[in-house]
């Protein structure tokens, strides 16, 4: 297949994914905006006023990057797992499977669509945050790439989840039992410097910690972890999950009998 043919196919999937996000915007964009507004009101304003500063920032300022990253992660993951599983469930994934499109094009198309969802929701949450507090982005490039990589990691993870899923419950399981706990323990609401041992060390095996802190470093200029390490962790996850997804696609796991 020539490059231009692949680009047309890729563009087709991305367009379809983006139009899905806008078509069902009451499911894709509004709920995260409402949830995050509640977080800002309850944790930032009510609870935060009693907590005081953290790393020299008001508690509200401190949790905004964490909550934005949390929105990006959950929405990228949720987008790709429900969209790709939906395609499997309704069987229209076969439209792509019988076409000449190579696997990597299909994977890229879905990942780009999910990253778009994560980024749009993240931007929305950031705008809402500006109603509650002042924010200046310290390092633009780090902010940008941490968003991109964080969203990509969880898009890939959501895709792998959808490939294994046989029923809708299977794609709800991981967010409930893995994603949410890891996010809450990933330094969204606190600096892990506040934790004693062994919790401080144990927190460091949580990949979400690195994404939240890379992004927080980009926005506020403070981080609990080394930023280079954070980017290395994210890159390693991108590479690892891409390989897993492509191997599964090559085998046709859950797709071709």
């Amino acid at each position: 297949m020539s490059a231009s043919i692949n680009m047309v196919a890729l563009g087709t999937i991305v367009r379809r994914e983006v139009s899905r996000i806008t078509r069902i915007w009451t499911q894709t964009l509004i709920p995260p905006a409402i949830t995050m507004t509640l977080y800002f009101v309850i944790f930032g304003k009510l609870v935060g006023s009693r907590i005081g500063t953290m790393h020299g920032f008001t508690y509200m300022q401190y949790i905004v990057p964490g909550l934005v990253m949390m929105s990006i992660i959950t929405n990228s993951y949720g987008n790709i797992s429900s969209s790709f599983f939906g395609a499997k469930f309704q069987r229209f994934v076969e439209e792509m499977l019988v076409s000449p499109m190579p696997n990597w094009v299909m994977l890229s198309g879905y990942v780009i669509g999910a990253v778009v969802r994560g980024v749009v929701v993240g931007a929305l949450v950031l705008v809402i945050a500006l109603f509650f507090t002042d924010l200046h982005i310290t390092h633009w490039a780090i902010t940008f790439f941490s968003v991109l990589l964080g969203a990509t990691v969880f898009s890939l993870a959501g895709f792998v989840n959808a490939m294994f899923a046989k029923k809708f419950d299977d794609i709800a399981l991981v967010p409930t039992f893995v994603l949410t706990p890891l996010t809450y323990l990933g330094g969204v609401f606190y600096s892990i410097d506040l934790l004693g041992e062994p919790w401080h060390t144990m927190s460091q095996v949580n990949p979400i910690l690195y994404m939240v802190n890379a992004f927080r470093y980009g926005v506020l200029g403070v981080s609990d972890v080394d930023v280079v390490t954070a980017f290395a962790v994210m890159l390693a996850f991108v590479v690892g999950l891409t390989v897993i997804a492509l191997v599964l696609l090559r085998r046709g796991a859950g797709l071709r009998s």
Partner: protein, 310 residues
């Protein structure tokens, strides 16, 4: 010599659950042919089509589309195929126009050409007035036609239809066949599976009958029909004779007070039958073939295959 549209060699498939769906199938379909694949439910037709369209991985054997291996050169082989699957498999919440344009996109066809083609084929399949409605609002027959339009988006050299008329009423079936016949006349090779044997008889030039994952017959339609040596007729009669006459070479059977059935060799003439009936004062008001001839043959072949297998 140009490569055959389809060349299948010793194709085998055993599913994960141990079901041996194909037990070594070999077939050749020539370019331009209109080819029927017949067989009872569970015979392995959809499995074969699944392998050709890369939805099912073969356990053994080879399949080539116009000389291109489905296994070794999947992308190139898929460019040549259009598939109308047995089960509905489009997004029910999408519009027919988008379903068609997107399908073209997956084949690398730009939006301008894709939109033109979508309009052309949706019009030809009489779906244009529904093009901008959600697909789930279409009737059963319309959904089937939508899948044909979608399969045409890459203007395939080989169009494969897996029971496209199952559950579709007669009028829509006819219009579908008109469309497919025209596509075939314009040069596209067509392979179809159907349960309506009469259609296969009317439309197809060549035929393979598959049963229990094996080909039990593979020949031209003409040749196959000429093999059928016994014919049955149903006669509507004004009155029934008290006793059925004996006619050499003809088996007569009384169905009800106004219906007779006559079975005889194909070579046997009808004159002696009518002669005797006339003599007995039996007035025949009308006459027709008892069943579709192909259907009879089909049943026989499948039964024969079973006996051999047993």
């Amino acid at each position: 010599m140009s490569a055959p549209a389809l060349q299948v060699n010793d194709l085998r498939k055993t599913y994960g659950n141990g079901v041996e769906a194909l037990k070594g199938i070999s077939l050749t379909v020539q370019p331009g042919d209109f080819f029927a694949l017949l067989g009872p439910n569970g015979a392995g037709k959809s499995t074969l089509i699944g392998i050709l369209s890369s939805l099912v991985n073969a356990t053994g054997g080879e399949a080539e589309i116009f000389g291109v291996s489905v296994h070794r050169n999947r992308s190139a082989a898929m460019q040549l195929i259009g598939l109308v699957p047995q089960e509905l498999n489009f997004n029910q919440f999408e519009k027919p126009i988008d379903i068609c344009v997107n399908q073209a996109g997956f084949y690398g066809i730009g939006r301008k050409t894709a939109t033109e083609r979508a309009e052309k084929y949706l019009k030809e399949l009489r779906l244009w007035d529904k093009a901008h409605m959600q697909a789930r609002t279409l009737s059963g027959g319309m959904k089937r036609r939508l899948m044909i339009a979608r399969a045409m988006m890459n203007e395939p050299r080989l169009l494969i239809l897996d029971e496209p008329t199952a559950g579709v009423d007669i009028e829509i079936r006819r219009s579908m066949w008109q469309f497919v016949s025209a596509i075939n006349a314009a040069g596209t090779t067509v392979i179809l599976t159907t349960h309506y044997l009469e259609e296969a008889e009317q439309l197809c030039r060549n035929i393979a009958i598959i049963d229990h994952g094996k080909i039990v017959e593979n020949t031209s339609m003409k040749n196959l029909l000429s093999k059928l040596d016994v014919e049955s007729f149903v006669l509507d009669v004004a009155s029934m004779p008290a006793e059925l006459p004996t006619i050499e070479g003809v088996t007569l059977r009384r169905v009800d007070d106004h219906t007779l059935e006559a079975e005889m060799a194909r070579s046997h003439d009808l004159n002696s039958l009518f002669g005797v009936l006339t003599q007995r004062g039996v007035v025949v008001t009308s006459m027709r073939n008892k069943t579709n001839r192909l259907e009879e043959l089909f049943v026989r072949l499948v039964e024969h295959g079973r006996e051999v297998a047993a």
